[in-house]
Amino acid sequence: MATLPIHGLMAEFHSPEALLHAAERAHRQGFKRMDAYTPFPIEGLAEAMDLHDRRVPLIVLLGGIAGCLGGFFLQYWLAVIDYPLNVGGRPLNSWPAFIPVTFEMTILFAALSAFLGVLALNGLPMPYHPVFNVEQFELASRNRFFLCIEADDPTFDRDGTWKFLESLGPDGVYQVDR
């Protein structure tokens, strides 16, 4: 019986298929607050745990649009309003000539949004996380696959969840302290 608050319970698997089945069973069992940790992305894993996030493409799109409009209007403002140069009476708003820089700014801002967006949504940098307290977890970046059911899940019960995790056939079950 744990007297310290725990983050959750973690099961270790040695193949991605085993983890995927375990995640599906855990989801069917009704656990909502859980996460899986793998050394490489596993297709279908996030979906099996009902984890979705469509915000990254949206952030990139918005960033790209911002770059496009910003780039064009920067040039427009500088070439037409702030520092107009009369070169043989040619139009100041020479928009075809503004296209290369506008294009590059679109890509630049979209890329920056993608990078910063994914870091921000993932909450990184996050140097500390309870799962690192489990010694075997260092294999999560090598060749082991972990499923962690968090203690703030409504149906979490330390002994019951421990037994459930053991029934999934893992290599080991561990307690994750905060």
């Binding site: 050394p39 500088l78 020479s94 820089v101 630049l108 993608a114 970046s141």
Partner: protein
Amino acid sequence: MAEPLQPSSPPPGSPQIIGPGHTFATLTDKISAIVLTQHTPWFWYVGFGVSFLLVLVLFFCIAALITRGIGLFGVNIPVGWGFAIVNFVWWIGIGHAGTLISAILLLLRQKWRQSINRFAEAMTLFAVASAGLFPIIHLGRPWFFYWLFPYPNTMDIQPQFRSPLVWDVFAVSTYFTVSLLFWFLGLIPDLATLRDRATARAPRFIYGMLAMGWRGSAIHWHRYEMAYLLLAGLATPLVISVHTVVSFDFAAALVPGWHSTIFPPYFVAGAIYSGFAMVLTIAIPLRRLYGLADLITDRHLRNMGVVMLATGMVVAYGYLMETFTAWYSGDIFERYLSMNRMFGPYGYMYWLLILFNILIPQLLWVRRVHTNVPLLFLIAISINIGMWLERYVIVVVSLHRDYLPSAWGMYSGTIVDYAVLAGSMGLFVCLLFLFIRFLPMISIFEMRELVHDLSEQKK
């Protein structure tokens, strides 16, 4: 035993893209061992030492250029652009293959990119860094280089956005930034691996900080994959646009031989060509020295050789069309330029260029050649040289004899020109050696994915 072992029977005829017997663990250990080793191999010290000396030469030359002026270069009137611009275009072109391998091959779902994309992207970064020096040091007053950026200033002036030189500033800065972001994003999970595998305190701390606490969470991977794919999708048009903008430096000018719409595709094809040649130039010694032939397999080298051959054919077509269009246009200046290029005072360079860029790589059609690793290496070097000669021919030959014969002149590189070129190569190699010592040169998590996907296919 549930860890997937590499399928032991390859499909008949085609070599595998990964050696047999690899598991997630062996891949991780092999690649991270190169970085986390206590015993740096002797050849690393030799390579780093020699290239570092060249970097010192570069710094000395830059100091001389800033204090004495660009008269140390061989540029004159009419040839106002010389080695500096040749080198700039050459280096930027080399960088393009890295992005192509990372981004375009990802979008085309080519699995064989997995083991070469990391150091190819690093190569892009270092090539662009070397390239970026030249527009700065070739300026008469390089300390004013920041005037090229639009910033609020007391002189009340702004850059001329209709100039390809300003477009270059944005294109190259964007290219460097996006490549850096793409490369670093790809590194984060591998930095986490190194953090977990490192035993000494300092590496654990540094890799830990750089990995930003990555733990491989499923939802993190989900967003990460999306961002990575989007960055690849962004980097693809970027590659094409950057070298197009660099080609505009010439195409937007009036000089015969430059003012041609062929330049954007011609330059981009040439960039991919020289870039793949440089990737091979790096990959072949690296895989030999570090024993990575089971990860960077013969199939990779063969595929890269084939891409090189294909782009070489596009470049050859470009040369042909350039000459044909010059003749077909009936313009006496364009026609003279083509004649001068081939038979004028720099004619020897043109024919050397044809030899190195077009003729020698035709050997790649022969199966015995593109499966022979040392020959592939020599052909890659030949292409690197040929592409440098191509840039030289484009820049110098068009400038030295343009419309008015009384303005004709000659150009040759000075010792400082050559020293800076060698120095920039030293900078590139030095950065590459630092990279292979401190960071995983093959993408560990993508190799794990590859092994997993290949074993899934077998089921």
